[in-house]
Symmetry: C2
């Protein structure tokens, strides 16, 4: 009996989980042996993380146990951290052992890009995982409680959001919604709290439609968010941030959303990376590696006009679908299909009942945009887990 080819999927993020779910659905018995490797025994919904980070929704609503999504009879799951990718040996080194593969799918996601800014790695928080956002929430609440012991030290109540891309803007909006509750719980005068969004580009959401950008700024300013645009951060210390223009802002909470780079393991494996991300062809494969697919935030896929698509959940999911298709094609000796991203919409939330974006090329703002954002979230949950998952993750919103 011929042995079934081994497919190893690294990472259960948007791309990896969708690829695994699709393979589990389509593969015939014994057609391939699929192994999914992930650091945690849960998949998390990165686009939702700004909410538990601010404390406006429970982190349980931003994650799904892998076993709820994967049929462990069909897909093997290994909870471990990848430490090395040995391409020549077709071997993955894990903290808990080794794995061999015939086909490799790398969906290991990104890492915070600090652009070499001093102190950022040590002193700033990142919205990048369940663990990291739980820490942001507890840290901020602790600052409010500490402030009551040091009422002259406003750095406890100054919250810096570094970067005004999607995550930065969404987090700032959510945080602004959360502040009144924190002020009430901790007896803090709200006028002492500052949320400052700092961005090196001259605008928030660089590259986005100017009319929507203006709308977003107006909404966030109205909620109390201050902006410092066109000012790069020079250094981040424990109790203050130093800007390139020399200005210093005392603050004990800096949440850095200034960008991501690809997972370091790819460059270490010998791939050429652009900020850690590896260029893939239209089959989502890196040049010269016929049995490897790279997708999601650690890959770069170029649009026809030569620009890289942004590292979004939407693209990652679609890549997961295509990679699953192409893996089956390879196994069955059929033709692979090229990846053709289809951007259905892009909506950024600005806190409760406010959002901006595009849905099928239509500009949307306000409550309708917020509803569209909700629909996008529901759609994703439906794709990976059906109606049951939609209900279990959205019926109960809870501050925590």
């Amino acid at each position: 009996m011929k042995q079934a080819p081994k497919i190893v999927i690294l990472g259960a993020g948007y791309a990896g989980i969708v690829a695994a779910i699709r393979l589990q659905k389509e593969l015939q018995y014994n057609e391939a042996e699929v192994t999914l490797v992930n650091k945690h025994d849960y998949h998390y919904i990165t686009t939702h993380l700004h909410m538990p980070a601010a404390g406006t929704d429970h982190p349980e609503n931003a994650r799904v146990r892998v076993q709820e999504l994967i049929d462990l009879q069909k897909v093997k799951f290994v909870k471990s951290t990848v430490t090395e990718i040995l391409l020549a040996e077709k071997t993955i080194v894990l903290e808990s052992g080794k794995l061999n593969y015939d086909y490799l799918v790398i969906g290991l996601g990104g890492e915070p890009e600090t652009f070499g800014i001093k102190g950022l790695k040590e002193n700033a928080f990142n919205i990048r995982s369940i663990n990291s956002v739980r820490l942001i929430r507890t840290h901020i609440e602790n600052q409010f409680a500490l402030y009551k012991q040091h009422p002259d030290q406003t750095e406890y109540l100054t919250l810096i959001v570094g970067g005004a891309g999607f995550t930065g803007v969404e987090f700032a909006g959510e945080l602004a919604d959360r502040i009144p509750v924190l002020c009430q719980t901790y007896d803090v005068d709200q006028s002492n709290v500052r949320i400052i969004n700092i961005e090196a580009s001259p605008t928030v959401l660089p590259g986005f439609d100017p009319e929507l950008v203006k709308y977003a700024i107006d909404v966030l300013k109205h909620k109390g968010v201050e902006f410092k645009l066109g000012v790069p951060v020079k250094e981040c210390l424990e109790d203050r941030i130093v800007l390139a223009n020399g200005e210093e802002i005392k603050a004990r909470s800096v949440i850095w959303t200034g960008g991501i780079r690809g997972n370091h393991l790819l460059e270490e494996a010998g791939f050429e990376g652009f900020r850690g991300r590896v260029k893939v062809d239209e089959m989502l494969q890196p040049a010269g590696h016929e049995n490897v697919f790279i997708l999601g935030d650690c890959s770069i896929f170029l649009s026809p006009d030569g620009k890289p698509y942004p590292p979004t959940a939407q693209i990652a999911m679609q890549e997961g679908e295509v990679v699953a298709y192409n893996l089956m094609a390879k196994i069955r000796g059929q033709a692979m299909k090229p990846f053709k991203p289809s951007i259905k919409g892009t909506v950024a939330s600005l806190g409760k009942n406010e959002a901006i974006g595009f849905v099928f090329r239509f500009k949307v703002t306000g409550w309708f945009a917020a509803l569209m954002k909700q629909v996008i979230d529901w759609r994703y949950l439906y794709i990976i887990g059906g109606v049951q998952l939609v209900l279990s993750k959205t019926l109960f919103k809870a501050r925590w």
Copy 2:
């Protein structure tokens, strides 16, 4: 027209608030001008603070706004901090100004007694106010979140309760109840969490009935609390505690409940203090000060056999009642009455549905003792605020 005598009450703790409420009820129009001075615009229920400290009840259930208890038409309320008591000038110096009095009631409460243990003041937390217990809750939650970033450093999950008196034992019980929830929320293996209760005396609840002490130890051990009895603490550092026997325990959370002393302002005013507490006669007056009453934790009242009564809420409330009576007697030229404490019961909670104590000389344990504890709490709320306050503070228990 004769000017009404000025009564100034310092502190809206158990003793002060009860005295103010009683005076407001009994005094005739213009018989006296009563002023209540307190640091916060709320009274807090010290015996309930171990719950919000652990996170098992919301801090709002441990405090009542002064304006809900005091008729501001009858009693003047000044929210300020006392900085000096000038007995010779019959003047109180506040952060916000000065007050003159004809009669002074001092109910300024206690301060944590550190027994000169190095680092305790800087690195340990105290269960002594709404502000201090909110900080304990946020600090501990933050440790759980930090642990996920440093899974090899167990000091994030080691919680030290210093002192096994009433507060220490009640807090340890409550904390033990809270741990499973924290472990679930932060994905922490409960076997990595330690609660260690350290006490210099050879037993918990020194002086209490041995049978009940054994019951308490058994209940708490069963909940996972470890005990180190008969071992004084030598030093408290940011990341560990050093015991007198040389043992070091790595821990980033030390909650010190090892005792209280009287407010420092009394000794500074010239009173002779025993650990800051001033001895009062049976009318609750210090020797040689006919127009001053001292009550609650900053006073010492001796029992007939010469032992001081413990600094409890029960005694403080009864003192508040008697002082109100005696003030009216003085104003009306009538005879004062001596203070005769009546100990109705003493119950220590050990977390959910567990407690031990005495009620009218009967030993109680288990759920019945827990119910008695609840009744005692209800009774107090009823005395100061009626049925409405009982309902508003007890109907809704909430982790926070």
